[in-house]
Symmetry: C2
């Protein structure tokens, strides 16, 4: 992190352990951190670091807290489960000031909320950096994670599923696909990866899909237009458990362009169950 | 049908009314027909034409019946619901003769059963023609069927869904996609079109997809490698009923490259419910 050492970092934190992981990585790099936990979302473990809590709508308070510490760079990371209720939200003065910008973003046809959020932070004078830029070990590197790698059939399915995931990303439809024994059996769109995996399980239960032993690969791949700073494809313990339950052979993601959450337990589960998790070099095969 | 008038036509008939529709069209063109109904599948209404019934495995009998009438061209059409039980199937001498060819096809890695069937008929000296070549009115022509056409939003969704359907066809994954208000929300793979539509309905019920009034389009499109003689994308009353139930605005297919079954009832339902069904010129927009 040459050139950033010593520069303070703000972490706007949703739920889960990852914000703390990012704070640890920044601290190791010699950067002071301030975690601003979103009320009702952030985990209490953030309190091991300099921190404060923010309620939805407290933009002015956020600016004051960041500016007091000369923080220019911020990371937005963690789960957001509660949809902010815009009607009951209390806007502070800082929030009221940006209302026209938010409204203009929302009506400009820019349907991508996250890129809108990045723009607004930019307008307020902050630079949004990716959690993976601070903690590169959050991402899946090239090659297998854990003990198992793909056999020839697994490698072929990984390529096939990755081609499918890239093709549906190119049309801005989804990120994930499943290929089993050379055949693409599921493509993700609005239902999301978990529901897509449930569908594969249901098709197997009904006998509509048949295979023996572990076979097939889930591939997950960022869309070309996806902003990896705030929205990176993610797999975790839940994904790996679903792949195990379905009887897949492995999971493939683009090296450096997907996050693995719960790394220790996820790797240990994959190792125990004989599942491979692999980072494929990006720029691999795509549909003609 | 210049050049074929008077030439006898064999129709190997599964279930439903379409085999009879093809026989009618051939008769109108001055061609004698023989319908060979598959036992347990073909509708009794085929008996209005010269006909016989075949059981699975009666290849020799089929050849005899076709050759007696100098039939060279055949159409394979209609629903097959019962999977032939290969163990209890009684092979006649004609069938036994082609067993080596069938086995060699099945083990050659040619996973496409239907193109295998066409090859076997070719080896036996027959020419397989598409039902739509005999009865072009089975297909959807260019432009809207029925009273309703798409508005600007419907046209945009039709294009978006068609781009998605082409993209997943190009990777040999599926034929159908749904776009609603500019967003691709569902892509078909192993689950099939009906299950994909049920998924869109379920996502709407759960509030994961929201729209008001009728919006969104189901597109269905042949894969580039699909043999339209025996396997053409098909929509019918059930598809239109599902689109109505979900609240879609319309259905788009490639003009001349998709069949509309139950045309009268299907059109009447679409008209009553304000749904459009449109044939888009092929070679339209596809993903970059």
């Amino acid at each position: 992190m040459t050139g950033t050492s010593g520069k303070p970092l703000g972490i706007i934190a949703g739920g889960g352990p990852v914000p703390r992981h990012v704070a640890n990585a920044a601290t190791r790099d010699g950067r002071p951190v301030l975690i601003l936990g979103i009320g009702g979302e952030a985990d209490q473990t953030i309190e091991a670091f300099p921190h404060a809590y923010l309620q939805w709508g407290q933009i002015g308070r956020m600016q004051k807290l960041l500016n007091e510490r000369d923080i220019e760079e911020i990371v937005l990371i963690g789960n957001i489960n509660i949809r902010p209720d815009f009607r009951s939200m209390k806007l502070d003065l800082g929030a009221v000031k940006i209302v026209p910008k938010v409204l203009s973003l929302m009506t400009s046809g820019d349907s991508d909320l996250l890129s809108g959020v990045i723009k607004i932070f930019g307008e307020l004078g902050y630079i949004v950096v990716g959690a993976h830029e601070i903690a590169p070990d959050l991402t899946v590197g090239a090659g297998p994670i854990g003990r198992h790698g793909p056999d020839a059939a697994g490698q072929k399915d990984a390529e096939r599923a990755m081609i499918a995931a890239r093709a549906i990303g190119a049309i801005d439809a989804g990120q994930a696909a499943v290929a089993i024994n050379g055949r693409i059996v599921a493509l993700e769109a609005a239902e999301g990866t978990d529901a897509m995996l449930e569908r594969v399980a249901a098709l197997r239960e009904k006998g509509r899909l048949r295979w023996s032993g572990r076979a097939g690969v889930l591939a997950k791949c960022a869309k070309p237009q996806q902003d990896l700073r705030v929205d990176m494809p993610t797999i975790g313990l839940k994904t790996i458990q679903a792949a195990v339950d379905i009887g897949l052979a492995g999971i493939a993601v683009e090296a450096g362009r997907a996050m693995l959450m719960d790394r220790a337990e996820a790797t240990s589960l994959a190792d125990d169950e004989g599942l491979f998790v692999i980072g494929e070099p990006s720029g691999g095969p795509s549909a003609p």
